[in-house]
Amino acid sequence: MLNVMQKQPAQVSAPGASGDKLETRERPFIVMDDVTMTYGGRSGVVALKHFTLRVGKGEFAAIVGPSGCGKSTFLKLASGLRPPTAGGVIVGEREVAGPLKFVGMAFQNPVLLPWRTCLQNVMLPFEIVEPFKSRRRADKEIHKERAYQLLKTVGLAEAANRYPWQLSGGMQQRAALCRAIVHDPELMLLDEPFSALDAFTREELWDVLQALWTERAFTAVLVTHDLTEAVYLADTVHVLSDRPGRIIHTQHVDFPRPRNIRSRFAPEFVETVFELREKIAEARTETKK
């Protein structure tokens, strides 16, 4: 059941490794080769160094690591919001040059627009992303229905016409997830979206996210510092070192889907999390030397 890969990062990044060895679902969707990212000029902070990563199309990848290790920087690069200092970023077989338009993003802070209702917030991408944008008058009812159906699948049907401040943190985060995927992006980038929620709400939202991912088959990258969350949701968990960040360990998680609360407490699940935890501890002492 377990397929624990214990490779050196150099092997993971080796050309040709993406196909057979890494067992990605199809061809890689995100390709980062030896990327370096420095903030604030030459003497500035090095957030990522020799960072190499492959994420297959339709794969659910998770990146875990200590805080301040460059996890968020990775998302900025993958979404094209920032160009790398050195190295290349390829997403969807194209070199990234500027913000990508087929990306949905969700953050720790739900950042909904407080003057819009839940439904209007979810419809925001329709007003910006083509081809929805130019058809937004003609298709207004269709868009509305689509956003509403999505809210319904995450259990927010009754909150559709409420304002964000009338919703709990968990409900706001559900709405933020809906906004991130309502326009069917090919890539979903999640920056610790559940870390500000209580444990029960978090577990609920894992299942919400898992269901959405199963249904819509987008490529997802989840950045988190919660190992259980990473193992529960992802196909592949990448462990990042301390700053400057690079991948120091990659582990496949092959538990059958849909995973549920039972699988989360199964011995082999706990074992996987524990092994991952060990790897991080090992890696951290190594870096310190």
Binding site: P99, K101, N109, V111, W115, L124, I128, R179
Partner: protein
């Protein structure tokens, strides 16, 4: 909110105002302060009715100059505030100049304005404009500039242009700040036009006060002051009501109470 709640809400502020007038009245009577030093409120209110024919046209004039000045500063304040809010660089370059202009006492500017435009309406309008302009600019700029970086990321990753981000997020976001600044600006505009009228005008409440005090009609001075105060409160109430109407979503937002007040 039903009618009973409204009355309960209004009782506190009205009661406090009444208490103030009672206190004023008592002080005047207890210490037997002569009318030409501090007339009691009863005398002042009586004077408003007695001299209504004199006060009303002057009040109209002041209201007119104030509103013209105020509306002008809203238009220009919004424009400049939006520009400065979009571009931090422009804000950095402009802010010393803005602060310098705002620091100049407006009383000192009035003689210059009179020199340019003559005695009367135009200097009063311009003074009202100059004094109420700054808080609007600063608040609008702050409102636009204070966007959460994640929100900007969400929009940019959807492919939104800078203009789209401004329209969808920047401007709505800055509305509570803008309306909060209106409440400050409208009262300041009154200060501006009255100052200008006291220095150089042939009508308006400010002029009336100068004329009355030079002939020792102190009750009339206080009557005029009271009228200005009432007009100020009325305009403030209108601004506050507009604010509530447009930004009902922000009633729980601390941002709505952030104002940048300046005096003159």
């Amino acid at each position: 909110m039903n009618f009973g709640d409204r009355i309960r809400d209004a009782a506190g502020p009205i009661g406090m105002a009444l208490l103030f007038f009672v206190f004023w009245e008592l002080v005047c009577r207890m210490f037997q302060i002569p009318n030409f030093i501090l007339p009691p409120p009863s005398e002042t209110i009586l004077e408003i009715f007695k001299e209504w024919k004199v006060i009303w046209p002057n009040a109209q004039q002041t209201l007119f100059t104030t509103m013209v000045g105020f509306v002008t500063s809203v238009v220009f304040g919004l424009l400049l505030g939006a520009l400065v809010g979009i571009s931090p660089e422009l804000y950095r370059c402009l802010s010393p100049l803005l602060i310098a202009f705002n620091s100049v006492p407006k009383v000192a500017v009035v003689p210059v304005l009179v020199l340019w435009y003559g005695i009367g309406t135009v200097p009063a309008v311009l003074t009202a404009f100059l004094i109420s302009f700054f808080p609007i600019v600063v608040n609008v700029a702050a409102g636009i500039a204070m966007m959460e970086p994640e929100l900007a990321d969400v929009l940019r990753s959807l492919g939104a242009s800078r203009l789209e981000i401004l329209i969808k997020v920047g401007i709505p976001r800055s509305l509570p700040y803008f309306f909060a600044s209106l409440k400050v600006a409208i009262t300041l505009a009154f200060v501006g036009s009255v100052i200008s009228e006291t220095v150089a005008a042939n009508d308006g409440i400010g002029y009336l006060m100068m004329a009355a005090s030079s002939s020792f009609r102190i009750p009339l001075v206080f009557a005029a002051l009271l009228v200005v105060a009432i007009m100020g409160v009325a305009m403030y109430a209108i601004a506050a009501w507009t604010e509530k109407w447009f930004t009902h979503w922000a009633v729980r937002d601390e941002g709505a109470n952030a104002t940048y007040a300046t005096g003159g």
